[in-house]
């Protein structure tokens, strides 16, 4: 399904609102939406919601051969999936341009800024390294996918623990969690993306929603870490316009402040969840289950359901053996590794000879007969289906 075109009413309304420095959801121009992070039961799995935009990230790892020009470094692969669940105009199967754009921006922000210590992922140089794979699935698209995805990636990377390995020269042993504790990744710095949209009238807003993204004329995404350093930058005009003035210098200070605060929040959330796992204390966590609030009318929480079932009584099975099936069948063996099972009617059993000769005329077998003129049929078995 194609994306529903934006109506003029919507466009004018949003532009008018921005001109008056108000937004549809009541935020100020440079105010972000609330961020919520929930973790899964596995390491490196988290769900992030930024307002209505929701993304799930999962980090997984396996052992691969390293790239020849970097023999002592692990690898990172970032994959963003825009399924039709996020918005109906995304197609499943092949990667859309939008998904590639987001993947690339995340790669710039996380991979190219070298925030993960890849050398610590090396097991045997030139032979075996850990290969990290980060999958981001967007489940609801309400604008600003890149910020939501970057928060999810950062939280998942900080949360992820990989199995410990011992290398004994030739072989490597992967220890399960019961033998050796899993190890966290080493991160050098903590980048997140902060996005802005500029409108026709020159006003710039932070953390745009879906409709604001469509109305805006220029987008800016800054990858900032907690040390106020710039890791990636993406600026693009969305329509033909000359109205955009120097946005970057105007908002970069605000972005850096927000990024510092955001990273602090993510760190706290991750630390809290990791702590509760080590202590095996599930009282105050933020897992997927906690994303369902108890008091909403659209939610339902139940406890373990204990039920009593009636015992299965074998005598209740009715006897279904009486299938009226008088199909008798016989197996005919040919040479050259062929055999057939055909059903025969009662009268034809008595005259096997005639039956076989009629069968020989069957076109299916002419090739065989030609190559093997004195072929014999051997009826080895009479299977009676009626018992």
């Amino acid at each position: 399904m194609r994306e529903v075109p934006l109506t003029n009413c919507e466009r004018n309304f949003v532009n008018k609102c921005i001109e008056e420095e108000t937004r549809l959801d009541g935020r100020r121009l440079l105010q972000p939406r609330p961020v919520k992070i929930y973790f899964g039961s596995k390491w490196g799995c988290c769900m992030v919601s930024l307002g209505h935009t929701k993304a799930i990230a999962q980090v997984s790892c396996d052992i691969r051969q390293p790239k020849t020009f970097r023999p002592n470094e692990g690898t990172i692969y970032i994959n963003v999936e825009l399924a039709p669940l996020a918005a109906q105009h995304f197609e499943s199967g092949r990667q859309s341009e939008a998904a590639i754009l987001i993947s690339r921006q995340l790669e710039k922000c996380f991979k190219d800024s070298k925030c993960v210590d890849l050398e610590s992922l090396c097991i045997v140089a030139d032979k075996k390294v850990w290969s990290l794979r980060i999958d981001i699935n967007i489940i609801n698209h309400d604008g600003n996918l890149i910020d939501c995805a970057s928060i999810a990636v950062l939280a998942a990377l900080m949360h992820f623990h990989r199995p410990d390995v011992t290398s004994t020269g030739e072989e490597i042993i992967i220890h399960p969690a019961s033998e050796k504790d899993f190890l966290p990744l080493t991160l050098f710095h903590y980048p997140v993306c902060v996005s802005f949209i500029t409108f026709e009238n020159g006003n710039t807003i932070m953390d745009p929603t879906y409709i604001e993204e469509r109305v805006g004329v220029a987008e800016l995404t800054l990858g900032m870490n907690s040390y106020r350093e710039l890791c990636s930058l993406h600026f693009d005009y969305l329509t033909k316009t000359m109205t955009v003035e120097d946005v970057i210098s105007a908002v970069s200070n605000h972005a850096a402040n927000y990024a510092t605060k955001l990273v602090q929040d993510i760190k706290e959330a991750v630390a809290k969840d990791v702590q509760s796992r080590y202590k095996k204390d599930d009282s105050d966590t933020s897992r997927f289950k906690e994303s369902i609030q108890t008091n909403k009318i659209t939610t339902m929480i139940s406890d373990h359901i204990s039920i009593k079932l009636q015992k299965w009584d074998e005598t209740m099975i009715e006897d279904h053996a009486e299938i009226e099936n008088n199909n008798k069948s016989c197996i005919i063996k040919h040479e050259e590794g062929s055999a057939e099972l055909i059903s025969v009617f009662d009268d034809s059993i008595n005259k096997e000879e005639s039956f076989n000769s009629t069968y020989d005329s069957d076109s299916d077998n002419q090739c065989l007969e030609l190559s093997n003129p004195e072929k014999k049929h051997i009826i080895i078995d009479l299977v009676d289906d009626s018992d």
């Binding site: 899964g40 039709p84 289950k289 369902i292």
Partner: protein, 220 residues
């Protein structure tokens, strides 16, 4: 046989759900059975591509996205199960020449993923307001390797000593079998026993559907 022997206790994992959580779908749910979590969203009825158009019925497109990795062959199987099960439940002749999309996202798998996915799609269908002939409830169970005991709604740790695992879906009217999937080898009597147990358990899932629908339908 003594009267007490005719009953056995079993425990289902807690079921939690939130409906209407996605703003871009016409009906959506996040359904959890224990830790196994699925997010499902329904879009439609809407316009359909010409090659998929059916002149006499609603066509159903299911997209299942796994949590990690690219789409695999396994996902096609889950999609087939969900499409064919939902097709039997929805009144497909009511919306000819249109289609609906059932989109599923795996969030967490700790056993009984297929059952959870079927239940989530059914709940999302209820939420989307499409007319259905009946609702469907899927139940998973397993047979333990050593004891031969049937465990209802097992999780990952229990599944490690499973001899066989079953997933059944039942309709809400006659409690007949809509879909059936099995893993492992088992005998005929084990099969029949597991069907019977799951059939009884399915009632609790239908009750859950009813409760949640009652809860929000009263205020809508």
């Amino acid at each position: 046989m003594v009267e007490e022997d005719t009953e056995i206790d079993c425990v289902l994992r807690p079921m939690n759900c939130e409906i209407n959580l996605l703003s871009r779908s016409d009906g959506s749910t996040m359904f959890m059975q224990g830790d196994t979590t699925i997010v499902a969203g329904i879009n439609g009825p809407m316009e359909v591509k010409s090659q998929k158009m059916a002149y006499d019925k609603l066509s159903i497109e299911v997209t299942y996205t796994p949590l990690t990795g690219p789409a695999k062959v396994d996902d096609r199987l889950i999609e087939t199960y969900i499409r064919e099960s939902c097709e039997s439940a929805i009144l497909v002749s009511l919306h000819p020449n249109t289609m609906i999309c059932i989109n599923l996202q795996e969030v967490q798998d700790s056993g009984g993923l297929l059952a959870c996915a079927i239940n989530a799609s059914c709940l999302a269908l209820i939420n989307s307001g499409l007319s259905m002939k009946f609702t469907i409830a899927a139940v998973s169970c397993m047979i333990e390797k050593e004891t031969g005991k049937i465990i209802m709604d097992p999780d990952n740790t229990q599944l490690k000593n499973a001899k066989a695992e079953f997933t059944y879906a039942f309709d809400s009217i006659n409690k007949d079998i809509v879909c059936c999937h099995s893993v492992g080898r088992f005998s005929q009597s084990e099969f029949l026993a597991s069907v019977d147990k799951c059939k009884q358990v399915s009632q609790f899932i239908f009750d859950f559907y009813r409760e949640i629908t009652k809860k929000y339908a009263n205020t809508v």
